[in-house]
Amino acid sequence: MHKVKSVTAMAVLLGAGLALGACTTESTTKDVMKHPYKEVWSGYSTATPETRAMQDDDFANPYMPYVDAAAELWDTPAGEAKKSCADCHGAPDDAKGGSMGIPMKGVGAKYPAYDPESHGPINVELRIQKCQTDHQKAKPFKYESDELLGMTGLVVMQSRGMKRETKAAEQSDPLYPAWLQGKAFYYQRRGQLDLACKHCHEDNAAILVRAELLSQGQSNGFPTYRLKWQKPGSLHRRFRGCNNNIRSEPYAYGSDEYLALETYLAWRGRGLPIEGPSVRK
């Protein structure tokens, strides 16, 4: 038992690319779970006054038309089952969560959750797709389609202001293996520029790279409307962008690799208020 534990702890540290001497199991595990930041802050802090003002006012937030369109789809029966989201969950802001008793409030704060079917993390996008396939018997919206972005925005919005929570870093949590995998990803150098996430978002947060002020690269603002994209985008689109920028082959939307990274990132940002859909430059 003791042995198993310390082996896992070793794996964690190796995953993080750290050299490790002889440590006791206790302190090793604690070191691993130690928070990487003294203070956790949102990308909102380093956003421009213009994008902040847009985010602060739902009437100015360019994401909202997509959410409005999704609100209509929410009430529209679909698929062979001819059921709407509302048939099962009530209104998006129904605190009781409709006939199934599953409210949308809180989803954005506690996802990615554990999916017993895939034995791994499931994020809001994939959960929506799963409801479409399993319960509506419908063809799911494509990842990164306007429909799925709108619906994700609508769902996540119900958790605005709630604090990000996760237990994924605890060995007893079923998301722990994904947390480990995500952590290894975060600290691994990649691409022709040979950079890890941590070089920009941990070592250099709040510092300028050319004209860009680096944030901690937190996920609490997602989904987000990016002015550069002229469109809403998912967290996985951001991951792909950050990978591409350092000339690294990106992974697919909804891939295991990005789901693990999303799980780990949620832990790095625990306690941050959910802002999605946010606005960024």
Binding site: Q188, R190, N204, L208, R210
Partner: protein, 150 residues
């Protein structure tokens, strides 16, 4: 006692050049690391200061301004993640600068600075696979430019 290490040459794949970036998959030049420096020129051809400055500025090549302040006031937005390169020629000699550019991880394990003359990084974008960020002569040109920063 001098620590010597030969980095073997890597033969890259054929040049595709669809995007037209500088990095070509020519055979890489062999070089020798001596005490954390590279004393020998990669090409034996003297560096061109003017081209070195251009390569340093070019976002698809050196892009040094992403991370460093440099005495190039005509360019806006100098990054601050690395040290200022003003006066760098007084702090570092040619052999040290060459090491810094070719593969800085040899002297600074955890550095953010890319290795401008190396291949084999993890999951490189297909278009850049087997290619170095800068060509050997471009490295020499940038060094020649940096040597003027007194």
């Amino acid at each position: 006692m001098k620590h010597k290490k030969i980095i073997s040459a890597v033969v890259g794949a054929a040049v595709a050049g669809t995007i037209g970036f500088g990095a070509h998959a020519n055979e890489m030049v062999k070089y020798e690391v001596v005490d954390g420096t590279i004393p020998q020129s990669l090409t034996g051809v003297a560096g061109d200061v003017a081209n070195g400055k251009k390569v340093a500025i070019n976002r698809k090549k050196g892009n040094c301004l992403a991370c460093h302040t440099m005495p190039i006031p005509e360019e806006q937005f100098h990054g601050l993640t690395g040290p200022s390169l003003e006066g760098v020629a007084e702090r570092m000699n040619e052999a040290e600068l060459r090491m810094r550019l070719v593969d800085p991880k040899v002297v600074a394990y955890d550095t953010m600075m890319p290795s401008f003359y190396r291949t084999g990084q993890h999951r490189v974008l297909k278009d850049f696979e087997g290619k170095t960020i800068l060509e050997a002569q471009e490295i020499e040109d940038v060094i020649a430019y940096l040597r003027t920063l007194k």
